[in-house]
Amino acid sequence: MTTGSLQKILLVEDNDDDYDLTLRAFRKAGLNIRIERARDGSEAIEYFNDPAKSTVLPNVVLLDLNLPRISGHEVLRQIRANPKTRRLPVVILTTSREHEDLTRSYDLGANSCIRKPVDFVEFIETVQTVTAYWLNLNQTPRVI
């Protein structure tokens, strides 16, 4: 996986363990990616409303569904409602196996949905693949 300019990912995740492990996985994979974190839904929405933080938008948003206060679905809805972030690739991370959660996510405009398995290896591989796909898709054609 080659990367030109610095890639940025926004990880919306309240669970520190998951955040740390994800961060480690990306680092270990050697991806030149800057990972920024929002700890919950409101922080994520604030992130996009704060011009200082979002002058350069992240290339991909990894969004956990099960968030305190403002749910992942609401965050997704607001991302899609905002003209600035309307086309931002959003990958949903969820522990839920509920069919409704997935269909709702796609209905709200999620680009991918990843179910968090217990086995982290499997999870990270999936995240890396999907993230890389969306990162590359956002790249200029020559990179691909």
């Binding site: 363990d17 522990t95 217990v118």
Partner: protein
């Protein structure tokens, strides 16, 4: 007697007929009223017969005729006294006059002109004396009702006409004596006519023929029934009895009524008059007429001078000369006795008893009906109360049930939500355990001894197994929560697809799969797919040790509802644990032998139960297992 042609002979024949009837009546019934009636008409018949036999040529015949005629007012008065009492002076007047004039008739030469004042006095006496019973009868008729009234009217009219007749006869005789001429044809005809009509009136009154008597009685009975029947259901029984007593009193011309009951234990007779609070207890002897009527249920008549015991006290109780005893009977038992007191005595005992029997029978029937209606109403009320109670109880228990169902549903939903969130939330720490174990192993593995690395590996394996269990529990809870969409589903095709997937995962295995074609069921496609995945997955798993594994899917013979089966020739199980198979986390094999979380069959059972069906398993260790299930309730 003057000869008046056909009419005259008709009235004579009628008189003889009446005399015979009344005499025979008296000989048959032997009551004082019939005796006096027989005396009246017997006497008249005798003079007619004597007239026929010897004519008027002898002086004694004429005297006899006059004496018999003179007795008529007295005899009529005697009959009338049975009806109602009268001031003593009237009786004395009639009696005295009779004696006086009878003596005169016997001693005075009536054909001499000197006898004229006597004859005139006798005529005056006769008219006045005859007027007394006439008025008595007419007044009696005024008070009486129905048959008695009509008959009394007839008798009163007869008595009046008879009086008129005799008076005219006397008048004509006087004229005959003074003017010395015989009666004209017209006068004779007129006398015969009067006597014929009066005798006919007497006939109707004293001995009415059946054809006349019946309609009288029926109309009376009809009126009574109409009145009583209309009110019997609405009125209390006491009112009906009171009304009946009143009607009976009117029908027989009585004056006082009372109700008598007989104590079954002591046989003591208790008499209670409706309008008086006094209760009389009569010491009842064996022949007491009330007791007899009580036991045989037949109306009876008692009168003064009857040799029966207890009659005087009974008459005294009612203040009457004669008493009708009318038992009103229920099916087999006398209920009460109606006593009807007559101040004089009954004129027509036989008729009265017949009518009273009819009245009593009808009233008994009406009261029985009323009792039945009341009983029915009681039963209805009881039933209604019961129904209301039951309905209330049912509604209450229904409400309780409903509440309970609501509670249970709420609890169930809570439990589902709980198990869902537990399963859900447990995954995050597991992921951390797994992830950090891996990180530890990868980042610091070289600094760890082999044992420590092995432990880390085990931690990861255990956390992964737990993850699977949680996943399966989530699936189980989803089975209960998801809505069912029932449609016709091709089970054979689904089985085929599942087997293909299993084969893809383990392409090296030799498994002979036989699936009965065209197995259809009315079911939810997702759920039945999950069910078959589990059953076929188990069959696949438990035949893994067999060289030639066999799996069969089909339906069992003839059953009211289709029984599907999934059969394998795998490891099987001990049948004594067959019940435990379907419990969550119950496993009959060790994890080392066969993998599994112990949720699969619990899921299968839940799916079957959601269809209202049944699932059971048959097996022997190492003989394979057969899982049978239905997808519809029994009897559907």
């Amino acid at each position: 007697m003057p000869n008046g042609g056909i009419l005259a002979s008709a009235d004579e024949i009628l008189l003889v007929l009446m005399g015979s009837i009344t005499v025979f009546n008296y000989l048959y019934y032997r009551d004082p009223v019939r005796r006096d009636t027989a005396l009246i008409f017997g006497g008249l018949a005798v003079i007619v017969v004597v007239n026929w036999l010897v004519g008027l040529q002898f002086d004694w015949v004429n005297r006899l005729i006059l004496i018999v005629l003179l007795t008529q007012p007295y005899l009529l008065l005697r009959v009338g006294l049975h009806l109602q009492p009268i001031a003593k002076r009237f009786i004395l007047y009639v009696q005295g006059g009779l004696l006086l004039f009878a003596a005169g008739v016997l001693t005075i030469n009536l054909l001499s002109p000197d006898a004229l004042p006597f004859l005139i006095m006798m005529g005056v006496y006769f008219i006045t004396a005859q007027a007394i019973p006439t008025i008595l009868f007419l007044r009696g008729a005024q008070r009486a009702k129905g048959i008695t009234r009509r008959r009394l009217h007839a008798i009163g009219l007869g008595a009046a006409l008879f009086g008129l007749n005799v008076s005219m006869l006397v008048g004509f005789t006087i004229v005959q004596l003074t003017r010395n001429r015989s009666l004209s044809e017209f006068e004779q005809l007129w006398l015969s006519f009067l006597s014929t009509v009066s005798v006919l009136c007497f006939y109707v009154g004293f001995a009415p023929p059946r054809w006349l008597w019946r309609p009288f009685q029926m109309s009376e009975l009809g009126r009574f029934l109409n009145e009583v029947g209309r009110n019997v259901i609405r009125q209390p029984v006491e009112d009906t009895i009171t009304y009946m007593a009143e009607a009976c009193l009117q029908a027989v011309g009585g004056t006082e009524s009372a109700i008598a009951t007989v104590s079954i234990d002591t046989l003591k007779v208790t008499i209670q008059r409706p309008n008086s609070p006094i209760t009389l207890n009569i010491r009842a002897q064996d022949k007491n007429p009330i007791r007899i009527a009580w036991s045989i249920g037949e109306p009876a008549y008692v009168y003064a001078g009857q040799p029966t015991q207890d009659v005087p006290s009974l008459r005294a109780a009612l203040g009457a000369q004669a008493v009708y005893i009318v038992p009103i009977c229920e099916v087999n038992q006398t209920w009460i006795i109606l006593l009807l007191g007559l101040r004089g005595g009954a004129l027509f005992v036989h008729d009265d008893l017949f009518l009273l029997r009819l009245f009593a029978g009808q009233v008994a029937t009406l009261i029985e009906n009323k009792t039945l209606v009341e009983k029915l109403n009681g039963i209805n009320d009881y039933l209604e109360t019961r129904v209301t109670q039951r309905t209330l109880a049912l509604r209450k228990s229904d409400e309780e049930l409903h509440q309970r169902v609501n509670q249970l549903t709420a609890v169930n939903r809570e439990l589902e939500a709980f198990s869902y969130s537990v399963s859900h939330d447990l995954r995050a720490p597991l992921r951390a355990i797994n992830g950090f174990s891996q990180a530890l192993s990868e980042d610091y593995g070289d600094q760890l001894p082999a044992d420590a690395q092995d432990y880390l590996k085990r931690i990861r394996a255990a956390s992964q197994r737990m993850g699977h269990q949680i996943d399966d529990m989530l699936m189980l809870s989803r089975v209960t929560r998801t809505e069912m969409t029932v449609q016709t589903v091709n089970l054979s095709q689904i089985c085929q697809e599942i087997i293909e997937e299993l084969t893809l995962l383990e392409p090296d295995r030799q498994v002979t799969v036989t699936i009965q074609p065209d197995l259809y069921a009315e079911t939810d496609k997702n759920l039945v797919e999950l069910l078959l995945q589990n059953l076929l997955g188990n069959a696949w798993k438990f035949t893994s040790r067999k060289d030639i594994a066999q799996i069969q899917v089909g339906t069992l013979g003839e059953n009211p509802i289709t029984v599907y089966y999934v059969r394998d020739n795998g490891a099987g199980f001990d049948p004594q644990y067959a019940e435990k198979l379907f419990t969550v986390f119950q496993r009959l094999h060790s994890a080392a032998d066969f993998e599994g979380t112990g949720v699969g069959l619990a899921t299968v059972q839940r799916i079957v139960h959601r269809h209202g069906g049944r699932i059971w398993a048959e097996s022997q260790p190492n003989q394979g297992a057969t899982f049978c299930f239905t997808l519809a309730p029994e009897g559907s």
